[in-house]
Amino acid sequence: MSAIAEPRLGGHDDHHPPVAHASSRVNASLLGIYLFLASEAMLFGSFFAAYFFARVAAKPETWPPEPYHLPVFLAGVNTIILVTSSFTVHWALHSIKTNHRTGLIAGLGLTMGLGLTFLLIQITEYLRIGFSPRDLAFGSTFYGLTGLHGLHVFVGLCLLAIAFWRAVRGQYSPEKHLGVEIPGIYWHFVDVMWIVVYVTVYVI
């Protein structure tokens, strides 16, 4: 348990730690998740690096190499779905801040629905795209980036599911909703990352 976390339990005997001094206005957990996401962004960075090495440094004749091409439109639809889900998760958070539990549950549910749709579309795209991770560095880096992102969507969905479950069981209140806020931040990150992936891999 976090030591900062126990304002009420601060004691002076050997059984409870004293209350830590809050030397920053930032909440520790929020700071933690932001740093974690910085680290995650760098992980994506390494795959982007590999992507550009294959695309630029290895001097392929065409990109995408013949005969492959990418379903730019379908992925665009997917982008819109994911962007929408960022708004729904924001709505969920806003709802619990203003003490609307139904809004919270609906918002989380909707977000999960959209996220799941995104994943399913992604999987169908994989099945019909006509190349596999084994097909040239092009295939590897394409699946590398989109797959890494898909994995993050999956993790995000799990986090949302936990938040949803706890929301259903009534564990959140206007004062206490970090458990919604943090998956929300994560979800926004997944969303922003997708836009970067989409623009790099599909558009330019």
């Binding site: 004293p18 030397s23 760098m42 960075g45 290895a58 560095a137 699946y143 994560y186």
Partner: protein
């Protein structure tokens, strides 16, 4: 992992936690070794079934394929073990949707040695766990080095065959770097930093415990490589593609071991950052933090931002092998040198990850034992930041002869050489701190002063390498091996010994034997130079690195190096003896044997379970030696008047 402390401090109700030491069958269901005893093999079996099941279902031949199996084993089995040990219990409970439990602190602190062998959330326990575990890996890696030196004592491939030799070298370096140097600094930091900044613990104690337990896992994975068909990973610690991809399956043990070690190091770094930012005692501004805290702060930033590149590089290697992707397969459009860019984008910052905390330790020690304030405190802190920033812009100096884009070499050379400037500031400031001091040459101080000259030799050989034309001649020779060991042994290891002696009284509550400590220093100092100094010469003369066999003209100096290496082994024995005996029977340590001003020394040795009864108030800089009446921190209870003194700084 990020979900760690979501609900802390916001709970209204709680349920009673189960008793700490249950009996009967519940001993096998409560987190601990007994539960791990069955969850670990269960996870192993599951991983096997999963891989074989999929391969069987998909008609892939053979069903029993070691590469995917090893991948699954090294991912799933450790998770099974961690679940068994109870590392995730709290989070599972939280996921189940229950109301959060209040912390009962049953997992905090140590009353007996057994408490060091379980998931423990006390940063002091974790610190000791880290230091002891990583030092054990040092001994193992050191013994591997002795095998290496035994092979190299004479020309000819006489002791092991060449593939095993490459395996020995790779495992030596892999363990030294990822399981000794990088994590042992996290260990010292864990123990000392919360105390130094006046915090009762780290920000995320459970994550902290998890970080520690990932380490032995990483180490075991790497060591298991020796047992595999084809032998240990043998492509060097740099594991360059495509050799790493055609290496026997043992290479997966490096790729996966590094993932666990990397995850551990990211989690700890994140913890340090949050702790340092949010939990400093009142009055502890950034400009009043001890330099060790500064050093860990900058190091942690490096870790958080750079380590993912290591993870990425090893994942791509793994995918290339297991899924037959083409990230680094030249025939299929992959870019071979891309691996090196990604790897070094981590691994160059990593060499500063391996030295900056050492700089911090040295700053503490030199100030205390010279009885003088650190010279130019602010510039000392800022030079750390400068190294942090420059450190991200020099990675390609490892690739001057690699065939990368030629235009990249000159800018990278300039930034590389410029790192001498902030590093020089640190060196000169240490010397100035000692100048006209009243120096007590206790063992930590001996190691500190030895560190300065040895590290400067290593840093200066780095300047030779930083110059592209010289590097073209010296790259991949024993000159590099000499550089590595002067910065990593003469640098990092010396600071580790210095820190180990320095905080030994605090951590164990007992004093070490000073005489033995001094003998240890002098033997290490001499044996170290005997071992590694000749390597500069043989390298420039024409002996490449990573060879089991070499031209007869280098025989004499290699024999000298080998003798030196065994002497180093003997000197290490002195240290082990000193630690073991003193820990058991040493004189009880006073709370502040070195008359230091930093907060950890104002507490009993060892400090109480929760560090403080009350958080101290910081009223001045940490190194105000010789300033009449100056205090760094006061405890309300001491009755000392709390007043804000004037600013302390460099000038």
């Amino acid at each position: 992992m990020a979900v760690d402390v979501l609900e802390h401090g916001q709970l209204e109700h709680h349920e009673v936690a189960p008793p700490a030491y249950p009996g009967g069958i519940r001993r096998f269901t409560k987190g601990g070794w007994l539960r791990a005893l069955w969850t670990t093999p269960l996870a192993f079996g599951l991983a096997t079934a999963l891989v074989c099941g999929i391969r069987w279902g998909a008609h892939w031949d053979p069903v029993w394929d070691l590469a995917p199996l090893l991948t699954a084993w090294t991912i799933v089995t450790p998770i099974g073990f961690l679940i068994g040990m109870g590392a995730f219990d709290y989070w599972f409970y939280w996921i189940s949707g229950q109301r959060t439990r209040p912390e009962d602190h049953s997992a905090h602190g140590a009353d007996s040695w057994r408490d060091y062998l379980r998931i423990n959330t006390d940063h002091k326990v974790i610190g000791v766990q880290y230091v002891v575990t990583t030092f054990s890996f040092y001994l193992i890696a050191g013994v591997l080095a002795l095998f290496v030196r035994a092979e190299l004592a004479q020309p000819g491939s006489d002791f092991v065959n060449t593939q095993s030799y490459n395996g020995l070298v790779s495992a030596h370096a892999g363990l030294m770097i990822f399981l000794f140097i990088v994590p042992i600094f996290a260990g010292f930091g864990n123990y000392v930093i919360p105390l130094m900044i006046g915090a009762p613990d780290m920000a995320f104690p459970r994550l902290n415990a998890l970080s520690f337990w990932m380490l032995p896992i990483a180490g075991l994975i790497m060591l298991c490589g020796f047992l595999l068909p084809g032998g240990q990973f043998a492509a060097g610690w740099t594991n360059y593609a495509p050799l790493a991809e055609v290496n026997p399956v043992g290479n997966i043990m490096f790729q996966m071991g590094v993932q666990w070690a990397g995850a551990s190091s990211i989690a700890t770094a994140l913890n340090f950052l949050v702790t340092i930012i949010t939990m400093r005692a009142p009055g502890m501004t950034f400009w009043r933090m001890p330099l060790l805290v500064w050093a860990n702060f900058t190091t942690s930033l490096l870790v958080v931002l750079a380590t993912p590149f290591l993870a990425g590089s090893q994942f791509m290697l793994l995918l290339d092998r297991v899924l037959h992707t083409n990230f680094f397969v030249a025939e299929n459009g992959g870019y071979v040198i891309g691996y090196q860019h990604i790897f070094w984008f981590y691994s160059h910052p990593a060499v500063y990850i391996m030295i900056l905390p050492g700089f911090g330790i040295i700053s503490e020690i030199i100030a205390v034992f010279s009885r003088k304030p650190v010279f130019g405190y602010r510039l000392m802190a800022l030079s750390l930041v400068a190294i942090l920033i420059l450190g991200f812009s020099v990675w390609a100096h490892h690739m001057f002869v690699a065939g990368m884009a030629p235009w990249l070499r000159i800018p990278m050379m300039i930034t590389t050489l410029l790192i001498a400037v902030p590093t020089g500031i640190k060196v000169f400031s240490w010397l100035a701190t000692m100048w006209e001091g009243r120096i007590h040459f206790r063992t930590p101080m001996l190691f500190a002063i030895g560190f300065i000259s040895m590290f400067v030799i290593g840093g200066l050989s780095g300047i030779y390498l930083g110059s592209v034309p010289i590097d073209i001649h010296a790259s991949d020779t024993y000159f590099i091996v000499a550089h590595i060991h002067y910065v990593l042994f003469g640098g990092s290891v010396f600071t580790i010994f210095a820190g180990a002696y320095f905080w030994f009284p605090k951590m164990t509550g007992r004093m070490y034997n000073e005489r033995l400590g001094k003998i240890h220093f002098w033997t290490t100092f001499v044996a170290f130079n005997v071992t590694f100094f000749p390597m500069h010469y043989v390298g420039l003369q024409g002996m490449p690195r990573r060879v089991a066999d070499y031209a007869p003209q280098f025989a004499d100096w290699n024999m000298v190096s080998s003798i030196g290496a065994f002497a180093l082994g003997a000197s290490t024995m002195l240290f082990i003896y000193n630690v073991v005996v003193s820990w058991n029977r040493g004189e009880p340590a006073p709370s502040n044997p070195w008359r230091s001003m930093t907060i950890e020394w104002q507490l009993p040795s060892p400090p109480s379970k929760f560090n403080f009864d009350e958080i101290p108030q910081v009223v001045g800089g940490p190194y105000e030696y010789g300033v009449p009446g100056a205090r760094h921190a006061v405890f309300q209870g001491t009755g000392v008047e709390v007043k804000e003194p004037e600013k302390v700084g460099a000038h």
